[in-house]
């Protein structure tokens, strides 16, 4: 017996909200059970499960997004909310304002430039290259910057999460290999390269590292919007 899921799935947008809430709740439980291993990041799991369910129910993205956009709209206010942790790190930030500003700005530009050139060298399309550029900053900001650069926000959202997972997984090993023992240095690099996912990992490792990672992530979120578009324009990518 076949059921016509596409007519069963009501046109009511709240279904999309319910689906997202339910799947994310379970994915988050799984993530906590797995002691927050970055590979099982709840966004990664939720996205894959929801895509699977939509495919199974033969629903298109528009049907899901009528509800999904209600959640998506809150990304703007959530970006504003980042002012709070940045404010909390202000006493730290004040003490080393210039080193942080310079390191963060150069860090995001080097990260973005290396991603773009590597992708171009490996034969990826221009759309992919531009979508890769803002991948190291927190998702809500990366999405709007990607839109501005002419990339694909959905693709950027995926890149951001995977980048965070990569940074969180290999960050500590890389710092050990480099001989970096100052948690302020490793924290800042983590926040600049792997945003919130890396910051969550940094908190698990060391408190100073977590604080500096949060600082790096916050400053990067602001700086990227100002420096990345003119930088790519200078390089002739825009």
């Amino acid at each position: 017996m076949t059921v016509d899921w596409s007519s069963w799935f009501p046109a009511n947008p709240l279904w999309g909200v319910l689906l997202t809430v339910g799947v994310y709740f379970l994915a988050n439980r799984l993530f906590q059970k797995a002691r927050q291993t970055p590979l099982l990041h709840p966004v990664l799991v939720s996205v894959l499960v929801i895509i699977g369910l939509l495919w199974w129910w033969e629903l298109d993205y528009a049907a899901y997004m009528s509800g999904g956009q209600l959640i998506h709209f809150l990304l703007g206010p959530a970006t504003v909310a980042l002012a709070w942790p940045l404010y909390q790190s202000w006493p730290t930030f004040k003490r080393c304002l210039w080193p942080v500003l310079v390191a963060v700005t150069c860090g995001i530009l080097v990260g973005a430039t290396s991603a773009i050139y590597l992708a171009a060298w490996l034969g990826a399309s221009e759309l992919t290259q531009l979508s890769l550029a803002p991948k190291s900053v927190t998702t809500p900001v990366a999405i709007v910057v990607s839109e501005q650069l002419g990339g694909l926000p959905a693709l950027t959202a995926g890149f951001v999460i995977i980048t965070g997972v990569v940074g969180a997984m290999f960050g500590a090993q890389i710092f050990r290999w480099m001989g970096v023992d100052d948690p302020r240095v490793s924290g800042l690099a983590m926040g600049v390269s792997a945003h919130g996912v890396g910051t969550a990992r940094a908190w698990q490792l060391d408190h100073t590292m977590g604080a500096y990672s949060g600082l790096g992530m916050g400053v990067a979120a602001v700086m990227v919007a100002f420096v990345l578009p003119p930088w790519l324009w200078l390089l002739g990518w825009l």
Binding site: I71, V110, L118, A157, F159, F175
Partner: protein
């Protein structure tokens, strides 16, 4: 109720940022401008308002949840992914490693010159 008021304030700052950038026609995301305005407000008023703090913390605690819908959008890009996934993955992993190495090296080089290391305990 406090929490709801805080959310209202966050939305207002976001909208203010959007409106400002549309008015002056700068290519800076409005939400980032809203964040900077909120940061300045917090610095200026000294005593952070409980409503905004509560709303911010609950949004940020589950920040990841809010980008699930955008992530699901990747299903529209199946062909692109099928063709370019290897280039995407390699450039993502390598550039993340480069970014970690470079930022840490630069920060290490910049820090001792300006800040006394021993003054940062605790």
């Amino acid at each position: 109720m406090r929490w709801l008021l805080g959310l209202g304030v966050l939305i207002a700052y976001d909208q203010l940022g959007q409106w400002l950038m549309r008015t002056v026609q700068w290519p800076i995301p409005g939400s980032v401008v809203g964040m900077m305005l909120m940061f300045l407000t917090l610095l200026l008023i000294k005593q952070p308002p409980t409503a905004v703090v509560q709303a911010s913390m609950s949004l940020l605690k589950h920040l990841a949840f809010f980008f699930v819908p955008a992530g699901v959008g990747i299903l529209l890009l199946f062909d692109l992914l099928a063709n370019e996934w290897l280039a995407m993955l390699v450039s993502m992993v390598l550039s993340t490693v480069i970014s970690l190495l470079f930022t840490a090296q630069l920060m290490q080089w910049l820090l001792p010159a300006t800040v006394d290391r021993t003054a940062d305990d605790g």
